[in-house]
């Protein structure tokens, strides 16, 4: 496996000249970027700017048409399954299994990821993740019995329990009210503070502006340099 050893530190993600096309339509054009371990980063841009594609590439759901991606110093190649095991995703629409309780949702995801985990270990990690996300008392509740904010926190707990190197969140607050959006964001920051790299794709300008964070702006598949005006990404 080809390894890239960064100088003086440990970038979690490195993209080098990454291009991606859906058929003939380019979705990303020569993207170069680096994200440090434990960094909390917003990925912003209008619709169809390439945010979701970038997340899919990092999750291993899509392959770059050109360019290379390193995750924790390891080139993402054909072994996309091993990539998925190190990356967790939180979706706008939660993606929870309705027939399983909150605890079972997390346990199921953990066991599916790694069949060699013992039940006791799975249960321990699931309960810890629920407690970390403030849902310890709702372990036996089904997703339909939870509020929108709780459902999203459950989705984060599921992602967190897998102990990922990289946590990707695609519009995690889009379906939430302001209070719940703040709680979810605070939770994601807490996860980043513990050392997990967190990338949040969002349209929410208020959320981004609320606290100083690194912001990567995408427009028409390209990374917008930091010194360009914000209007270019926020127009959509």
């Amino acid at each position: 496996m080809l390894r890239w050893t960064p100088l003086g530190g440990g970038p979690s993600v490195r993209m080098e000249g990454v291009t991606h096309r859906y058929g003939r339509t380019p979705s990303l054009k020569g993207v170069d970027l680096e994200i440090e371990s434990g960094e909390f980063t917003y990925l912003v841009g209008p619709s169809a700017s390439g945010k979701t594609t970038l997340l899919k590439l990092l999750h291993g759901e899509e392959r770059p048409t050109a360019g290379r991606i390193w995750l924790d110093g390891e080139l993402i190649g054909r072994r996309r399954r091993s990539t998925r095991r190190r990356v967790s995703v939180v979706f706008q629409e939660y993606r929870l299994l309705e027939r399983r309780t909150a605890l079972e949702n997390i346990m199921f995801a953990l066991r599916v990821r790694d069949l060699s985990l013992r039940r006791s270990e799975v249960a321990g990690r699931a309960l810890t993740a629920l407690a970390d996300c403030g849902l310890a008392m709702r372990a036996s509740a089904y997703p339909s019995q939870l509020s929108g904010g709780q459902r999203q926190r459950l989705a984060i707990a599921r992602a967190l329990a897998a102990q990922p190197l990289l946590l990707l969140a695609d519009e995690p607050t889009a379906s939430l009210d302001v209070d719940n959006a703040r709680r979810v964001t605070a939770l994601l920051r807490k996860i980043a503070a513990r050392g997990t790299t967190v990338i949040v794709a969002t349209h929410d300008r208020d959320l981004v502006a609320a606290r100083p964070n690194r912001v990567i702006r995408l427009s028409e598949g390209e990374v917008v340099p930091a010194d360009e005006p914000q209007e270019r990404w926020a127009s959509g």
């Binding site: 399954r81 998925r84 095991r85 995703v89 979706f91 993606r95 929870l96 299994l97 309705e98 027939r99 199921f108 995801a109 066991r111 599916v112 990821r113 069949l115 060699s116 985990l117 013992r118 039940r119 599921r158 897998a162």
Partner: protein
């Protein structure tokens, strides 16, 4: 070494437990949840497997009869002309015994032939109507195969030492009719079973595919949280297997009931109604329908899901 072995065993136990929980139990639970959707497939499989079981029962009975017939058919009666001398008979017996396809040669005198004939129902009246002993002396020649019977009968057809009207007991028409009949039965059974198996496979595959479509969101979520392709497909293939097993069990019950009905109607033992078929053989045949159903169901499901992407 002991520690490594223990670790390996613990790892294997964990993997087994997870596979059973995530794939096997999930499939069974899902099947029970969607049992009404699987009902037509169960019915089709049961019907196909009942016909398969009935054909197997029929085959066992036919084979038993055929074996008995074949044993009888490899015995060729070589009828002797009245008035053959002892030298002629010794010469003929020597010729027969030298053939490599002959197993044994037994001389049956006219008196022995009459005694055997009188023992058969209805023959005594026929013999009484004739003067003296009308039956010829014979050599009962046991041959290794049916083909040898035909070959020897042809060779002896013009032998002057044999009865001129009917030198041997060989009847070509009867043999060919029997063989043709058995071929027709075998081909018809094969066609019917194949047709029913195809219908059952189609219905089972359709039910599994419908279940997969109904659970598309759930499956997509499984994929996104890291489930591999076989973990996603496994429960559906097992659902097909469960359909096959349930259908097989149903087919087996109907098969046993049908055999019992036949037996009670005939008022005799099972082996008398269906030669060669005892209780143990019937139980084994019925039990075999379950694994056959499982294979049929899982294969149908696997084929139905081939090329499906979530």
């Amino acid at each position: 070494m002991g520690v490594r072995l223990r670790r390996t065993l613990v790892l294997l136990a964990a993997i087994t437990a997870n596979v059973v929980e995530l794939i096997v139990l999930d499939a069974v639970r899902s099947w029970i949840r969607h049992r009404s959707a699987h009902a037509p497939a169960v019915g089709s499989v049961a019907m196909a497997l009942f016909v398969l079981g009935a054909s197997a029962v029929g085959t066992v009975a036919l084979q038993t009869v055929a074996r008995e017939e074949a044993a009888q058919a490899t015995l060729l009666h070589v009828y002797l002309r009245d008035g053959d001398t002892a030298d002629q008979l010794a010469d003929l017996e020597g010729t027969l015994l030298r053939r490599p396809d002959v197993v044994s040669v037994v001389y049956v005198s006219k008196a022995d032939a009459l005694r055997e004939a009188l023992a058969r129902p209805g023959m005594a009246d026929l013999i009484d109507q004739t003067e003296g002993n009308p039956l010829p002396a014979a050599y009962d020649v046991r041959l290794k195969s049916l083909a040898a019977v035909e070959s020897l009968a042809r060779e002896l057809s013009s032998d002057p030492r044999l009865a001129p009207d009917q030198p041997t007991s060989y009847d070509a028409a009867t043999y060919s009719t029997l063989q043709r009949l058995m071929q027709i039965v075998a081909i018809t059974t094969l066609v019917v079973i194949s047709g029913l198996a195809l219908i059952a496979a189609g219905v089972t595959g359709g039910a599994v595919r419908a279940a997969a479509v109904a659970r598309a969101d759930e499956v997509q979520t499984m994929r996104l949280v890291g489930a591999t392709d076989w973990m996603v497909r496994g429960p559906f293939v097992l659902e097909g297997a469960v359909t096959g097993v349930v259908g097989g069990a149903l087919g087996a019950v109907v098969l046993i009931a049908a055999c019992r009905f036949l037996q009670e109607e005939a008022g005799v033992g099972l082996g008398d109604v269906l030669p060669g078929l005892g209780v143990v053989v019937l139980a084994l045949l019925a039990a075999a329908l379950l694994p056959v159903g499982a294979c049929m169901g899982s294969l149908s499901a696997a084929v139905a899901l081939r090329g499906k992407h979530w």
